[in-house]
Amino acid sequence: MMRGVLNYGFPLILAGLVVLFGVLSPSFLGLANAMGILHAMVPIVVVATGMALVVMLGKLDISVGAIGFAGMSMAAMLIDGAGWSPLAASAAALGVGAALGALNGFVVVVLRVNPLIATLGTMIAFRGLALQITDSRVMVLPDAMRNFGNWTIGPVFFDVLLAGAILLAVHLVHRETPFGRTITAIGNDEAAARRIGLPVGRTVFACFVISGVLGALGGVLGAAQVGAVTTFLGKGMEFTAVAVVVVGGISLFGGRGSVFWGVLLGALTFEIIRAGLNHVGANPYFYQLIGGGIIFVAMYAAALKARETRLQD
């Protein structure tokens, strides 16, 4: 029964919020607004998708925001300075993401540094790197890139489809492939996974690389939407991503939860609140407070849940 509440609590809260904002501001319930909310969700959804895989391992990667910033800064420099095409530059950004993710993986798997501290360290380092190469300036991106970032097919934004596809793909990889199941196994019990000879090290490393790539992609899509790279890019995104994952009911102890529903519900919760407060013209200083509150509730629920399953085992 408690279980049920924990599992369906957030969808319920979500529905409640939608109704509330809808009543306060009818325009909130329009299709356009729904699309707008999905559009605004894109960067965080992509980043949180990578985070979700790492959390499924029972680990965390809080360097994703910095990776996004670093990757996109690199891309902007290539476009600005070397005159690369946005597409090529974006590809390069993903490359940077993969490299930095691999560095995280190396530190965690080979140097066996606690993932929190490892990625805390790389988070500082990567942000420093990005600020260094951009000299922390605002860089305006070519229209082509911004048009891509806001390109719609019918009522739907293309990047929403892209993010959706990625989310679904990662979800399927996690559910339907040996690699994905190994992730869950490690999240359940890393020691046992080693005992029965699962490729723990390789899997963990791969997850950090994926998380890096998606972090960079999140940065690219975010920058494409606003058509500029500023130092705000990816700032605090790591924490939002963790929050999204937790709120989405993916256990921080690892191994439990659904990538697709977790990330989707989590991201919706936060974006609906932001957009709703915008619509009703509420005091925006309120956001952060509400955000923190939601994380706390979600975590408490997660802790109870985890204890329940612990008792069952």
Binding site: N33, V138, V140, R146, N150, G222, V226, T230, F232, H279
Partner: protein
Amino acid sequence: MNYSITALAAAAVLAAQGALANDITVGLSWNSKTQPLEAAWEDYMKAEAERQGAAAGVTITWVINVADADPSRQASNIEDLITQGVNVIVARAEDAGAIGASIRAANAAGIPFVTFDRASGTVAPTAHVGGDSYDQALTTATAFADLMKEQGIEGKCIELQGALTDVNAINRSKGWTEVDAARPEISTLVQVPTEWNPELFRSGMANALRAHPEANCAFIASDFAITAVQSALEEVDRWAPAGDARHFWLATQDLLPGAVPLMEGGYIDVSTTYDAFKHSEELVRVVIALSKGEDPMCGPDGCLAKGRVVTPATIATIENLWSKTYK
């Protein structure tokens, strides 16, 4: 991070040279360097120091440090400038309140303190030099209201505010709101604060547009990330140059490099420049005056360099507009 050692090293150098009466060291403390604007200011200051310095027979040495948007770090940086014993301190405050402590410290050490661009909310500095952000908003808003009147349009506007920790953001909102109250041609539908974060410029504008489809104009507290607004407008197909029926009337502040081509293209209707060049010119004048122990003759709100109103009509002809030339 603070620069105490840099400062001390410089001090040592000066000592070695045996500082002459007409050699002055100016400590410049940036709160952060995240926009081309700061770079422009710095370069113009140095250039002006050469020019005016030569005229006044003064050689100016700069000691510059950056606080990365951390008030306590800026306090540290300024303390270092004081321990070094620079002749004048110039600071762009990160926090309108926190800068007071540094001003107090400088006063105690008998070093003249000039707040640049962002005024102190607490202790009064020796002098304040900056753009007149309030006047900036007034001129833009008035020009915009005139435009609406001439076009015979009733302007229903969205106001995108800056970060409310920033005196300029507050002044601009104040200026706009006053004109809005005084002129029937324009009215504000909703105020959206952005913390100067482009993502919020875009999503905030987009949400406001959906909440108020009748909106036809916007006042934007700074156009450093104007492309974010462009995205939001394109989303509802309102991004078109003046003359086009879909045109969405835009009044912006600063006319920063990113905005120049857009005004040239007729997307931005009115803006008031944020004149890095004039600020720097004025600052150097004040610094030299202070170093000679003269009164810089500032107004009640400080020595303010007013911005110039620019429209698509005038942008081609306006002179030494830094954002046109600066990259």
